[in-house]
Amino acid sequence: MTATIEQTGPATSVGEVPTFEVTLRVRRFLPEGPRGDESYWDDHVLTMHGTDRVLDALHKIKWEQDGSLTFRRSCAHGICGSDAMRINGRNRLACKTLLKDLDIRKPITVEPIKGLPVIKDLVVDMEPFFASYREIMPFLVTSGNQPSAERIQSPEQRAVYDDTTKCILCAACTSSCPVFWTDGQYFGPAAIVNAHRFIFDSRDEAATQRLEILNDKEGVWRCRTTFNCTEACPRGIEITKAIAEVKRAMITRAF
């Protein structure tokens, strides 16, 4: 055995991070379970470490206490967009929310994101979300022959749409939008963000069509600038600003 491979437990490796107790109050919905279509709260008391995230706590429940607790996750560091959920009343990624940053004296509530049909526990049906994403033509459209080398784009032109290229399609924004909660037909901020990413790309030639699509009754005009989306976005995208830019582009075009 070699001496090097001593495992660096998180509790001791970085600074001195204490262990603490925390109650996780999870919204459960098990359609096949004894309570059927009723959803209810489940409390779990857990002992956690300083650098643990809500995702770690959920894993602890699933792995040690109740295997039926169901949620999506993959990357565990905020880049795949699997685990958007409502934590203490706000949309966040479970893997990017450190327990110690929450108020651990009170139970931490964990619920599925709002406005999309719940399938089981924290898992929602994402199809409506992706459907409106697909509708805004989220791809580069160009005409003519492909150039033999790359298309030229200056760093300044590239910077215009940089912010909206960061989207990971986690739906934290759309499911935090009060308009989307009551009107599921609304395209939602995520679709607009992804339209913005192409509308303002100097290489793209379908801006007009995308603006046309979003000029729908359920398009950008539905946004009431409540900023919930901007606050919820785990990628720090200035969504409301992007939406405003799309609105302005439409107005400029119309007048």
């Binding site: 697909r134 009551t182 046309e212 699509i213 000029n215 398009g219 107005i251 119309a254």
Partner: protein, 150 residues
């Protein structure tokens, strides 16, 4: 195999029915422009009616008559009426769209809303245009001072 479900190649992705058009765009711009104008109009209105002089206690028929005797005031109030009603109606329309889930509910609420709009705007406009500050046969004590000069 038990259930041979060999599906045919999918038809290309069909976009759902869309409701595009510039109506919402104009509505949106209108809300903002009317908003700015309304700030000026309503603040003046409130100031004149509630703060200047005796405030609310000064309001009576004579007060209104005094104002509407001058054409500019009539025009200002007319514009305010129209803008506020259009702004408010459009605002409430948005709210109905947000909360009414069933098409039927939505339809009924909108009929009510637009009727209210028409009734109020028509009445208001008629009143402002046909207003007689010194109606014949009215108790002179209730009328504005200038009626006495008639």
């Amino acid at each position: 195999m038990s259930t041979p479900v060999i599906t045919a190649p999918r038809s290309p992705y069909a976009r759902r029915k869309t409701t595009r058009g510039n109506f919402e765009l104009y509505g949106w711009v209108f809300m903002r422009i009317s908003g700015v104008v309304l700030v000026a109009l309503i603040f003046t209105h409130l100031f004149v009616n509630l703060l200047a002089g005796e405030g609310i206690n000064a309001i009576d028929f004579a007060f209104v008559a005094g104002k509407w005797a001058s054409l500019p005031w009539r025009i200002v109030d007319l514009i305010m009426l129209w803008l506020a009603m259009m702004h408010g109606t459009n605002g409430v329309r948005t709210i109905i769209n947000d909360y009414a889930e069933k098409d039927r509910t939505r339809g009924i609420l909108k009929v009510l809303l637009y009727s209210a709009f028409v009734i109020v705007v028509v009445t208001g406009t008629l009143v402002i245009f046909t207003f007689d500050p010194c109606p014949a046969g009215a108790d002179p004590a209730l009328l504005a001072d200038f009626c006495k000069q008639l």
